[in-house]
């Protein structure tokens, strides 16, 4: 997580998308990560086809039945099929990743760009504020947001998104600082380019590679955070088949039905691992200096 804070610089000449994918698949972590994420997306899209049961249907089988051919991951205390719930849960997990990272990435990007570009007082005040928010820690910001917005999965996604804005703003800012002092940028300023053109044509493209890496890794952080909030009862509500929430309802039955605790946990861990590996892979492709390690 912290190592993602180093800016990534695109290798000379932006690679075409196909060769990017090829390069990604040649890195071990990128390949594994890509496969995991692809499986997750497939599960989410094809949930209706893959899942043998309606994830909300009670008494789809006997209550608390251990894993069997009929119920691969067993059933829960309402007789719902745990496998089907996990497959449908992939949809919620993807939503969490996209919405939370979407919020923090776009807001953080704008904040960092504006602060880095504006320089002077605007920069100092904005970045000071970002530093302050950063030191509040994400969990506290998320709790504060939930206290205002109220409990629920959508609100939890928003809260997590808001909580990570300072992180993305810092990274964007640090990349902009480097770019700002490069000759090409100074030339563009001297050439009389407008503010918007300077920001969007010159700074933004150079920030994007770093943010792709950070954003990919950020999905894993967001998924973990959302699962944690749902586990605490602040996120998903019944009967949503959200993995963290499923873990929290497994607690009372941990000795009688350990499968209710094991499979949702494995699903979270594999998803998070997948995005972590994918992020590492993308970094390796985009930043040859890192590849040597």
């Amino acid at each position: 997580m912290a190592s993602a804070a180093e800016p990534v610089h695109a290798a000379a000449g932006t690679p075409a998308s196909r060769s990017f994918l090829g390069a990604l698949l040649r890195t071990p972590s990128g390949a594994v990560g890509l496969v995991v994420v692809a499986v997750l997306v497939l599960a989410a899209v094809l949930a209706g086809v893959i899942a043998p049961y309606d994830p909300l249907r009670m008494a789809a089988g006997p209550r608390l039945a251990p894993p069997s051919w009929a119920h691969w991951f067993g059933t829960d205390d309402f007789g719902r099929d745990v496998f089907s719930r996990i497959v449908y849960g992939a949809r919620l997990t993807l939503q969490i990743g996209v919405i939370a990272v979407g919020i923090s990435l776009t807001s953080g990007l704008l904040l960092g760009l504006v602060a880095g570009y504006a320089s002077g007082w605007t920069e100092r005040v904005l970045m000071r504020l970002v530093d302050v928010l950063f030191s509040f820690t994400e969990i506290v910001i998320a709790l504060a947001c939930l206290a205002i917005l109220g409990i629920g999965l959508t609100n939890a996604m928003i809260a997590i998104g808001i909580a990570s804005i300072p992180f993305y703003a810092r990274i964007t800012h640090s990349v902009v600082l480097v770019e700002r002092n490069k000759p090409y940028f100074e030339a563009a300023v001297a050439g009389g380019a407008g503010h918007l053109r300077l920001i969007f044509r010159h700074l933004l493209p150079n920030v994007v590679p770093t943010l792709i890496v950070v954003g990919t890794l950020g999905v894993s952080t967001a998924v973990l955070a959302a699962a944690g909030l749902s586990f605490l009862g602040l996120g998903a509500q019944p009967p949503q088949p959200e993995w963290g929430f499923m873990l929290s309802s497994s607690r009372d039955l941990i000795s009688r039905a350990p499968w209710m605790m094991i499979f949702p946990g494995v699903a979270i861990a594999i998803t998070v691992l997948g995005f972590n590996l994918l992020g590492d892979g993308v970094r390796e492709v985009l930043d040859p200096r890192q590849r040597q390690r």
């Binding site: 997580m1 504060a144 409990i151 894993s220």
Partner: protein, 306 residues
């Protein structure tokens, strides 16, 4: 150096000041009438609500409210909880030692497990030891704290019956501290490895090796000491992560710290307690990071501040 410390303290003061503004605004960001939400208990009358509004100063303009809030803050008055009507600061202070105990024990475990693992991986870079260690670490980073907690609970407490499941004694500390410590050990192992690789690549280590100094001397006298510097600089952030993680882990193991309190407060919409918690927690994290930054400045002779 003094100037550096002064700068860091000033920054910390600004952060805490922003926190006071943020918590004052928090109550106004709540949709609806905060007093009604908070105090609309069984049989409260409009007159009572009005009295509450006046006593909290919520009928005043916002800058006056803020001044009142600061005034009370200076006297150590963070308001009273909605649930049970008790001084917020007392409630927080009563619960804080448990959280601090958990955080310190977890940090110790994270350091004892994570740093040797990262060091070993860096030293044996590229070998199966390195790959294995980093695999363990990335899996550790990817596991939700609370799931690791449930697994430990399942195996050690329920299957093997070795440890008590929950409570507040020393034996009860083992599982939550292990959960939080191991999860953070994974992060620390990755950090340590990357810091040590940077050191190994640096000229002074290579020079020492070229001079024919014994390997252990090079390792301990030069590389390890130099490597510690960037790692210590990350401990502040680690501590913040730990405190955040503690909020969840406390709830898994019924550890009676401020984290559990905070979640209860959010559920109960006990805004004075939530406000107090945010201010308290942010202050602790900021102060610890100042202390670590200052230690770092003492540790690292190469860097001149100011």
């Amino acid at each position: 150096m003094l100037r550096y410390i002064a700068q860091r303290l000033a920054a910390a003061a600004v952060t805490i000041w922003v926190a006071t503004v943020a918590v004052t605004l928090l109550i106004h960001a709540v949709p609806g009438d905060p007093v009604r939400i908070m105090y609309a208990k069984f049989q409260s009358t409009p007159e009572q609500l009005e009295a509450v509004r006046t006593s909290l100063g919520l009928d005043q303009p916002i800058h006056v409210q803020y001044a009142m809030y600061l005034g009370r803050l200076v006297e150590g008055d963070l308001g009273r909880t909605i649930v049970g009507d008790q001084p917020v600061l007392d409630v927080l202070l009563a619960r804080f030692p448990a959280t601090l105990t958990l955080a310190v024990a977890s940090l110790a475990i994270a350091i004892l497990v994570g740093m040797p693992l990262g060091f070993l991986a860096a030293y044996k870079r590229g070998t199966w030891v390195d790959i294995g260690a980093m695999l363990v670490a990335i899996v550790g980073v990817s596991m939700p704290h609370f799931w690791l907690g449930l697994l430990l609970l399942f195996f050690f407490a329920l299957q093997l019956g070795w440890l008590p499941v929950a409570g507040s004694g020393i034996a009860n500390l083992v599982l939550p501290a292990l959960t939080l410590g191991l999860a953070n050990a994974a992060v620390l192992a990755r950090l340590t490895r990357s810091a040590m690789i940077d050191i190994f690549d640096q000229d002074f280590v290579r020079t020492a090796q070229a001079k024919g100094l014994p390997k252990t001397v090079v390792l301990y006298r030069h590389a390890l000491r130099a490597g510690l510097v960037p790692i210590v600089s990350m401990l502040g952030l680690q501590f913040a992560y730990l405190m955040g993680g503690a909020i969840v882990v406390e709830n898994v193991f019924a550890w009676n710290g401020v984290g559990r309190l905070a979640i209860e407060a959010v559920f109960a919409r006990d805004y004075p307690l939530i406000q107090g918690f945010i201010l308290f927690f942010a202050s602790i994290v900021v102060i610890v990071s100042v202390i670590i930054d200052v230690l770092y400045a003492f540790l690292d002779p190469r860097i001149r501040y100011g």
